[in-house]
């Protein structure tokens, strides 16, 4: 298999893994967790913590 095809195959595998991870995260409430963290003021992030 030439280099280009190998790279494209790797990209495809990565895309599939990332979509699976996002789906698992969505169904296990991780989006809500991210939303909760994002909605709370992170004092450390702005240098006040």
């Amino acid at each position: 298999m030439d280099k280009k095809k190998t790279l494209n195959l790797l990209t495809l595998i990565l895309l599939i893994i990332s979509i699976i991870l996002i789906s698992v995260g969505t169904f296990t409430g991780k989006v809500k967790e991210t939303e909760r963290k994002g909605n709370a003021l992170c004092l450390e992030c702005i240098g006040l913590g």
């Binding site: 790279l7 790797l10 990209t11 990565l14 895309l15 893994i17 990332s18 979509i19 699976i20 991870l21 996002i22 789906s23 698992v24 995260g25 969505t26 296990t28 991780k30 989006v31 809500k32 967790e33 991210t34 939303e35 963290k37 994002g38 909605n39 003021l41 992170c42 004092l43 450390e44 992030c45 702005i46 240098g47 006040l48 913590g49």
Partner: protein
């Protein structure tokens, strides 16, 4: 292409930060959109921010591993990396845009590559984004976003508005805030002379995306059969790379300047003839 890139950068900055009036109210935007990770470095504690910063979310998660890995944040990071690589840095990052605008100021330019200083961003990634949040959260029993707390200049910009327009927060601005403010000013001053110093030497998010530059869907391809080795591409590269030998290098932000300057059209984005 540069004009198209600038327009994209301005649009993404506005899409990431649409709640501009919040800047002057000294309060955060809250809502469901904060559950969405944006590709670029954009602090979720900036009053105007609509989404979440993937780097901040990752540190929050690493500081709280008892609840399990946040597969959503890790998956989002992988998705952006697999699709774009450091194209995100060149086209979709608001802090990158700010540095580029400052580089336009007429000031003596430093064109050195600083090859070894480029490794610093990997140190930042390992120490401040991965190791410290895990180790200190185990000791303290609470989340510890070390990169956000001590370094991230993007969060300081949001912090300046919060401190400026919120009296309660102003009373909490002590030594760490001053340290972060000094880092921000240092980076902004350097940006007038060095092209994107934060992206080249410090940004851990760029370090993550850079690891995937060679396999990302959007890549730069080099046609050896038409290339005359004239050197126009390496002279045009603001990251001081040689696209002929370092095509898709981890530091390449896909700005496309080498593509525009190539007289033989030997360089192009994948998917384009």
């Amino acid at each position: 292409m540069d004009k198209r890139r600038k327009i994209t950068q301005f649009i993404t900055t506005l899409v990431y930060n649409p709640f501009l009036t919040n800047l002057f109210k000294g309060k955060l935007h809250t809502g469901r959109s904060k559950g969405v990770c944006v590709p670029g470095l954009n602090c979720y504690s900036c009053p105007a921010a609509a989404g979440s910063c993937p780097l901040g979310s990752l540190q929050q998660n690493l500081g709280n591993l008892k609840k399990g890995v946040n597969t959503y944040v890790v998956g989002s990071l992988l998705l952006f990396a697999a699709l774009f690589g450091r194209f995100v840095c060149g086209w979709l990052c608001p802090f990158g845009l700010l540095q580029e605008l400052l580089y336009k100021i007429p000031f003596p330019k430093c064109v050195k590559r600083f090859k070894y200083l480029g490794w610093l961003k990997y140190v930042m990634l390992v120490v401040f984004v991965i190791a410290l949040p895990i180790v200190i959260s185990i000791e303290k029993g609470m989340g510890y976003p070390a990169f956000c707390k001590y370094i991230c200049p993007q969060g300081t910009i949001g912090g300046l508005f919060l401190v400026g327009f919120n009296e309660t927060l102003r009373s909490q601005a002590h030594l760490t805030f001053i340290l972060k403010f000094v880092i921000l000013i240092g980076i902004l001053l350097c940006s007038a002379s060095i092209f994107r110093p934060f992206c080249r030497f410090i940004c851990p998010l760029g370090a993550i995306y850079g690891l995937f530059n060679k396999i990302a869907l959007i890549r730069i391809k080099h046609d050896k059969t038409t290339c005359t080795n004239c050197g126009a591409c390496s002279r045009a590269c603001p990251m001081r790379l040689n696209p002929v030998t370092e095509c898709n290098h981890a530091d390449c932000i896909r700005c496309g300047k080498c593509i525009s300057k190539c007289p033989e059209r030997s360089l192009s984005f994948t998917g384009k003839k």
